[in-house]
């Protein structure tokens, strides 16, 4: 059994004496005897460090990671390269171990990072105000909805079917508590088609590019929302912000998104961070921590957590959100990553992805039995439908060491044999060619009708 305690048997003796009790048990006298557990917890015995390491290594070895196969999985989290300097900085105990910066005088490092992060997110989104992070992407969508509800006290959210299924479901979970109704706007040929919007609509919620990879006409969608007096909420792919018109310039009131692609590991889904930016008008409704610039007694610049009267520890039941611990370290990774890319690099990387995705689209559509789900412009991801059962195609690809993407059937029954294929800078032209060949071969082998006629 390992131990991280620092009290020796002799210490313990002295400490009990100082307290004036004779045993450790005495310290728990305040717990009613009937509530004291009269047996050890039914857990395996503790292990030494080397044993725990071996066990966890063995478990991890039973996962097929993006290092083990050529993976085209995306759908919200992406296998981007994380520069080594991100790891080396965020592993510094000075960033890794402190609590939320409640004592600003000894937390200037973390607070300045938040300020720099907010600046970056504001630049990316074209919106003036960013908080210091929320949990992650899908719950950020719901958090944005919560603001809308409080801003205009209307009763319905209109959410595009192009918004990530997890975000839609999270919104629904939360909306139930708030007594809000969630209405889905369908996709037409892969792009959002808004229904008639009336004055019950609190917010219109869209995603850019949408879940099927299509670049939406965000300005048109936000205009429609605003015409109905609703807020426009957009969940944005972070990298796409390098080349797509920023939400702030498209009329979006609240831009949110998943931060994982910005320097955070896949980690089987978390921890990552959600970004959250909005207009000046909504500044006092924003959830979570915000760092602000100020001066110290000597007039030197410093940073503090600010606008805290929004927050739970001050405002309690009247707070704009219940969030407390958020994702500071992940947001730090985000701002380091963005600074590493830099002004030009951010664009260059996005353009590389755009061009590779365009290549992939042409390459895949040329494969017999593979069709595009839609013809809208795409940035980093595309949906293709297959002329064969998707699960069997996937299985065949895997045998070649390729994970061809996410089968869409569970979330989009209308695209039963479709795949969502994601491209990052780690997927080269050669990789895309391998995918095309594998898919072609697998579809040919699994294509039921054709197989028969050809046979």
């Amino acid at each position: 059994m390992s131990t991280y305690t620092s009290v020796t048997p002799e210490d313990r003796r002295q400490m009990l004496a100082e307290i004036g009790v004779t045993s450790i048990e005495d310290l728990f006298a305040e717990i009613p005897a009937a509530l004291r557990l009269d047996r050890p917890l039914a857990l395996d015995a503790g292990l030494s460090e080397v044993e725990v390491f071996q066990e966890l290594r063995a478990l991890a070895a039973r996962n097929v990671s993006t290092e083990d196969e050529l993976s085209f999985l995306g759908a919200g989290m992406y296998d981007h390269y994380i520069p080594a300097l991100v790891d080396s900085i965020i592993e510094r105990s000075e960033f890794l171990t402190p609590y939320t910066p409640y004592q600003p005088e000894i937390s200037q490092g973390g607070l300045q990072v938040m300020f720099e992060y907010q600046t970056a997110i504001s630049e990316l989104t074209g919106l003036p105000v960013s908080n210091a992070s929320v949990y992650e992407g899908p719950s950020a969508v719901a958090a944005a909805g919560y603001i809308a509800k409080h801003t205009n006290s209307r009763t319905r959210f209109v959410v595009s079917r192009g918004v990530h299924p997890h975000a839609r479901e999270t919104l629904r979970t939360m909306s139930h508590g708030w007594g809000m109704e969630v209405v889905e706007a369908p996709l037409h040929d892969g792009a959002t088609e808004l229904p008639e919007l009336d004055d019950t609509v609190s917010a219109v919620i869209i995603q850019q590019p949408n879940f099927l990879g299509a670049i939406e006409d965000v300005p048109a969608l936000t205009a429609a929302a605003h015409d109905a007096g609703a807020l426009a909420i957009c969940s944005c792919d972070a990298h796409s912000l390098a080349i797509l018109k920023p939400p702030g310039e498209c009329g979006v009131d609240i831009a949110v998104g998943e931060g994982q692609p910005l320097g955070n590991r896949l980690d089987f889904g978390g921890p990552s961070f959600g970004f959250f930016a909005t207009t000046e008008a909504l500044i006092r409704r924003i959830p979570g921590r915000i760092a602000g610039e100020t001066r110290d007694l000597d007039g030197r610049r410093g940073f503090v957590l600010t606008l805290q009267t929004r927050e739970q520890h001050i405002r309690r039941e009247k707070a704009t959100s219940n969030i407390c611990t958020a994702q500071a370290l992940n947001a730090l990774a985000g701002v380091i990553y963005l600074s590493w890319l830099g002004r030009r690099g951010f664009v260059e990387l996005a353009e590389l992805m755009l061009k590779r995705t365009a290549y992939a689209r042409e390459r895949l559509r040329a494969v017999d039995g593979v069709e595009l789900v839609h013809e809208h412009p795409v940035f980093r991801e595309l949906a293709v439908s297959l002329a064969a059962p998707v699960d069997r195609v996937v299985e065949r690809c895997r045998r070649l060491g390729i994970n061809p993407g996410l089968p869409l059937g569970r979330d989009y029954p209308e695209h039963e044999d479709a795949l969502l294929v994601a491209i990052t800078e780690r997927r080269t032209r050669e990789d895309i060619d391998r995918l095309a060949e594998a898919l072609g071969g697998a579809v040919a082998a699994e294509r039921p009708a054709l197989q028969e006629t050809h046979a």
Binding site: M1, S2, Y4, T5, V7, D11, I19, F28, E30, I31, L35, L37, L41, L43, D44, R57, L59, A61, R62, T66, L73, P83, I89, S93, E94, P104, I106, Q108, T119, A120, V129, Y135, E136, H166, T173, M174, H176, D217, L266, D267, G269, G270, P271, I283, G292, R295, L297, F303, Q312, R316, S321, I323, T325, L329, L332, S339, L341, G345, K355, P377
Partner: protein, 497 residues
Amino acid sequence: MIAYTEDQPTIYERSKPGRRAFVAPALDVPDHEVSELVPAALLREHEAKLPEISEPELVRHYNRLSRRNFDLDSGFYPLGSCTMKHNPKLHERVAALPGNAALHPLQDPRRAQGALELMWRLQHALGEIAGLPHVSLQPSAGSHGELAGVLLTRAFHEDHGQQRTKVLTPDTAHGTNPATVTMAGYEVVKVGSDADGNVDLDDLRAKADEEVACLMLTNPSTLGLFDHGIDEIARIVHDVGATLYYDGANLNAIMGISRPGDMGFDIVHFNLHKTFTQPHGGGGPGAGPIAVSDRIEPYLPRPQVVRREETDGSCFYDLDYDRPKSIGRLRGFQGNYGVFVRSYAYIRSLGAEGLREVSETAVLNANYLMARLRREGVLQYLPAAYERLCMHEFVLCGTPMKRELKIRTLDLAKRLLDFGVHPPTVYFPLIVDEAMLVEPTETETKETLDRFAETLAAILREAQEDPEVARGAPYTTPVRRLDEAGAARKPVLRQPL
């Protein structure tokens, strides 16, 4: 004490046109004008003004900033309610294994068996620790777990045809509790505390009616006290058909010693970033799994990690989406898996015996520190808010100090900074005037506790001589006291570029 006391420019102020760290991989596909691929109207016209900086300067910038942070690996951090215990380095290593760190969340469960088994085992362990059999790992932090818990309560009542409207929270509750209640669409009703720091049972009885959906309780409470009336509280709450919610922020006091489930709680959240060693990261990430009783189980968030039997009797682990009564998702994917790895490694390292030793030592350290403060005469100016054995933390009340020495708890805290100690939590819980909530944790040495007691005593002596010293503190930190009011009045939330 901390380095880099000279002002540090921001990363934007270090930027210079033409510098770069990143280099893009060569274009290996046909080139196109961007506007051929995306309609011009949807394209960005001006680049985001990210910094332009070389790798060496980027590294230096964040390295220097890091030195302007106080951290747990350098000094004592007795921040009450936050359980700033040592974060074992092994955990970072195992979390970084490619099989964990590079595992895509949408990988087929059949190809993520290690991860799912780890989650399943963690669910099992947390359930055993809480004394409640069903666990969802999904919530992202404590307050997210609270929200899950209250939404579960709602689902439970609605499923039983009831529309309740109120949730009770004690006046000692952490701010997230009432905030959560509002976010879940309930009204907050505050319950008072009695003279001993327990829930005021009369007030509870008066407020517990059929409109009440839930009581959210922290036990040991935020005062560091185990509630004497816990049996009775559970009875009152259950008698009106409400659920009993356990805020697990203070679980570090009772692991292997007493279990919320056995106390009658229906729902518990864990703060894996407190009790189970996930490093705090300067404000996250964390994770806030919940454990629930049988009657709450049907409503747990979706998907659940389950173990299924194959036809041949072997087992595999899967994600179960088929949960018709589920409240649904609270977030994307399967929760903060990276945090689960660390917490599982911790539980695996310590085992039952080790976890019990953790709680025993946490409580020993807290009571010892209180005794040492008494011996140093500190309690004369900052008496314990309640004269009882504490659990893993305790609250001092700075009122006499303020009256007699003319320094506030805030001043004491700020003066501690000059001694290389992170101050305890101050001005919380709200019901104690000039409160200071001290949580030493089990990983500290007796020597550290002794030194802390002596330091507090020395500061009080210094204040007897000259209270201005503390009132002007800190002096040795990268910046001195900051104008927080000014920051809020005219918020500067980003750098103009």
